[in-house]
């Protein structure tokens, strides 16, 4: 069965993923909205930066974050002077790293949803007296709800599954930085295969359930948006016939 130490790793992982997801949603919503609506010429460069964690080996990211978090770096020094603690090998370091590492998984679905969102509906809302904030809450959020759930689930799942970055910057401190994937690595190193199975198998089932949930959402979304877009085509046909 699961030992108290492994249980600690599981709860730490869930806590890390939950905090990361909340921060990511707060950060990515305005970023994705801006990316979806901006006409700036440097948009491709900004999109590339957001997408970098998708392609880079996590160790590359971990390496530079390790340098940035060390008390010798400007960022590390700043953190030390503000919080009185060194950043490297702490839970906070893991949160910052996870936010960067999982950023594209949250920004991209939101940006896609915002880009597909019908701007004419927002115009209609404006003519009824809805200001930008009102439009966002009463039109944008309900219409992109599924994408928010997808983005949050992907961000959460991806944070649960991270290994390389944590290994580079977090170390292996139980209760502080020892997350599930690291604990699993330890078990395998120590040839404790039975415990390793509990953790690895559990992670597979968890990820499978979460992904199945996301895809079932997307399937429904696909069906309903298909219906919407087919009525749109009809009306544009009408216009052409007229």
């Amino acid at each position: 069965m699961i030992s108290p130490e492994d249980f600690l790793a599981v709860t730490l992982t869930l806590k890390l993923a939950a905090i990361t997801t909340v921060i990511l949603l707060l950060l990515s919503t305005p970023l994705a909205w801006w990316l979806a609506n901006t006409r700036t010429r440097i948009k491709p460069i900004l999109e590339a930066i957001v997408a970098l964690p998708l392609v880079l080996p996590p160790t590359v990211l971990g390496f530079y974050l390790l340098l940035a978090f060390s008390p010798q770096s400007p960022f590390g020094q700043f953190w030390l002077s503000v919080s009185g603690q060194s950043l490297a090998f702490t839970f906070n370091a893991l949160v910052i790293a996870s936010v960067i590492y999982s950023l594209p998984f949250v920004v991209q679905p939101l940006q896609a949803a915002f880009e597909q969102l019908s701007k004419p509906l927002l115009e209609a809302a404006a003519t009824m007296g809805a200001n930008k904030r009102d439009q966002f809450i009463s039109i944008v959020l309900p219409l992109t709800k599924r994408s928010f759930i997808t983005a949050a689930s992907l961000g959460f799942a991806h944070t649960v599954g991270e290994f390389g970055v944590v290994l580079m910057i977090g170390g292996n401190i139980p209760g502080e930085t020892q997350v599930l994937s690291i604990a699993l690595y330890d078990k395998v190193e120590a040839m404790q295969y039975a415990e390793a199975h509990w953790l690895a198998g559990g992670l597979i089932i968890f990820s499978l359930v979460l992904l199945a949930f996301i895809y079932s959402l997307n399937r429904n979304h696909y069906l309903s948006s298909n219906r919407l877009s087919s009525t749109n085509t009809n009306s544009s046909n009408d216009r052409m016939i007229k």
Partner: protein
């Protein structure tokens, strides 16, 4: 009380350049062919296009100039788009409530009232996706009224509807015209819609205003794009005078007390109606023919004759203060020696009642 607009926008094919004052009561039509700049003008009034060189003043309130800009949501308007733009995540009732909760003042109609006007009660729980095109546009109209706007803008609201739905909504709009004190600006490329609904008309062509004035005055001008079309027709007003049950006719009287007959209509005696008289259905004789089958023969004075090289000419006839158009062959004009100020008789073959659009051959 008025809406003053001044626009100067370079566009790819022509410049949208106009300056006008629209009366802030009744229906004002903006008529022109597709691509004349009508929608751009309407969107500018709504504040949906934030363009430079635009000045809009509504009832002394500065909506837009180079220094200041009122965003759409502060202009207290309603906009009816050609595609109804109902919110897909809300039911019909939800759509109506969306507007009602944000209404600009409390003087407007209630949800129950509007549902009764437009006969929407059965649709309230449905999703917009399940509605027909005509139903969607009805909901959009109802939603617009529930905002209690100070100005209603309509951009080809009947443009994507079939004939039956169009007719249904047109008659609702006509009723609304009588009920509503809110000014409406109505964009359309369909002269019949405009003739039925509007009091004031602005004709646009390639980004500029070609003519503006009262619908009735403009309908009988010789040199406007609307009179050049094959179905050119003058619009006159007449009062219901008497119903004739024996022959199933209704007698109308013009302002000068001249009689006009149409097939029996259910209008109250004393009501004013609009009639549309197509130019191709008027012929001219020099004497009042007593042996003609045509019922409607009115004494008229020739006011102007179009000058062109084609075989057919448009002739403007005065009947009291109102005017008619007649399309005659050049040969007839020469043979009858028609010239301005000549007294003639106009024989009117068809009179269409615009408010019900019953065409009557007599």
């Amino acid at each position: 009380m008025s809406l003053t607009i001044s626009l100067n926008l370079p566009r790819s094919q022509f410049n949208l350049q106009l300056q006008t004052t629209i009366p802030s009561k009744g229906f004002t039509g903006i008529y022109g062919h597709s691509g004349a700049g009508k929608t751009t003008l309407l969107r500018a009034i709504a504040g949906l296009e934030k363009n430079p060189n635009t000045e809009i003043i509504f009832n002394k309130e500065n909506w837009q100039n180079d220094e200041s800009y009122f965003p759409t949501q502060q202009r207290k308007i309603a906009y009816i788009f050609q595609d109804a733009r109902l919110f897909p995540h809300l039911t019909v009732l939800g759509n109506l409530e969306f507007a009602y909760r944000r209404r600009f003042n409390d003087n407007g109609p209630s949800i129950e009232k509007v549902c009764e006007w437009f006969n929407l009660s059965a649709l309230l729980q449905q999703n917009p996706q399940t509605l027909s095109g005509g139903e969607k546009q009805l909901v959009a109209l109802a939603r617009a009224l529930l905002s209690s706007p100070q100005l209603i803008l309509m951009d080809e609201p009947l443009g994507s509807l079939d004939k039956k739905n169009k007719e249904n909504i047109l008659s609702l709009l006509e009723n609304l015209h009588k009920k509503l004190s809110t000014p409406v600006i109505y964009v359309s490329h369909d002269i019949e819609e405009v003739s039925r609904l509007c009091d004031h008309l602005i004709i646009m062509e390639r980004g500029v205003i070609n003519a503006e004035g009262s619908l009735i005055d403009l309908s009988s001008q010789l040199d406007l794009s609307i009179s050049l079309e094959e179905n050119a027709a003058a619009i006159i007003e007449a009062t219901i005078y008497e119903h004739d049950d024996e022959y199933q006719l209704t007698e109308l009287r013009t302002d000068e007390d001249l009689p006009l007959f149409v097939t029996r209509i259910d209008e109250v005696i004393g009501n004013k109606v609009r009639l549309r008289i197509p130019a191709r259905d008027i012929s001219i004789s020099l004497q009042a023919a007593n042996d003609s089958s045509i019922l409607n023969i009115l004494p008229a004075t020739i006011d102007a004759i179009e000058k062109n090289e084609t075989s057919r000419l448009l002739v403007r006839l005065k009947i009291g203060k109102q005017a008619l158009l007649a399309r005659l062959t050049k040969k007839s004009v020469t043979r009858l020696q028609l010239s301005p100020n000549k007294q003639v008789y106009a024989q009117i073959k068809t009179v269409a009642l615009l408010s019900e659009c019953v065409e009557t051959k007599t």
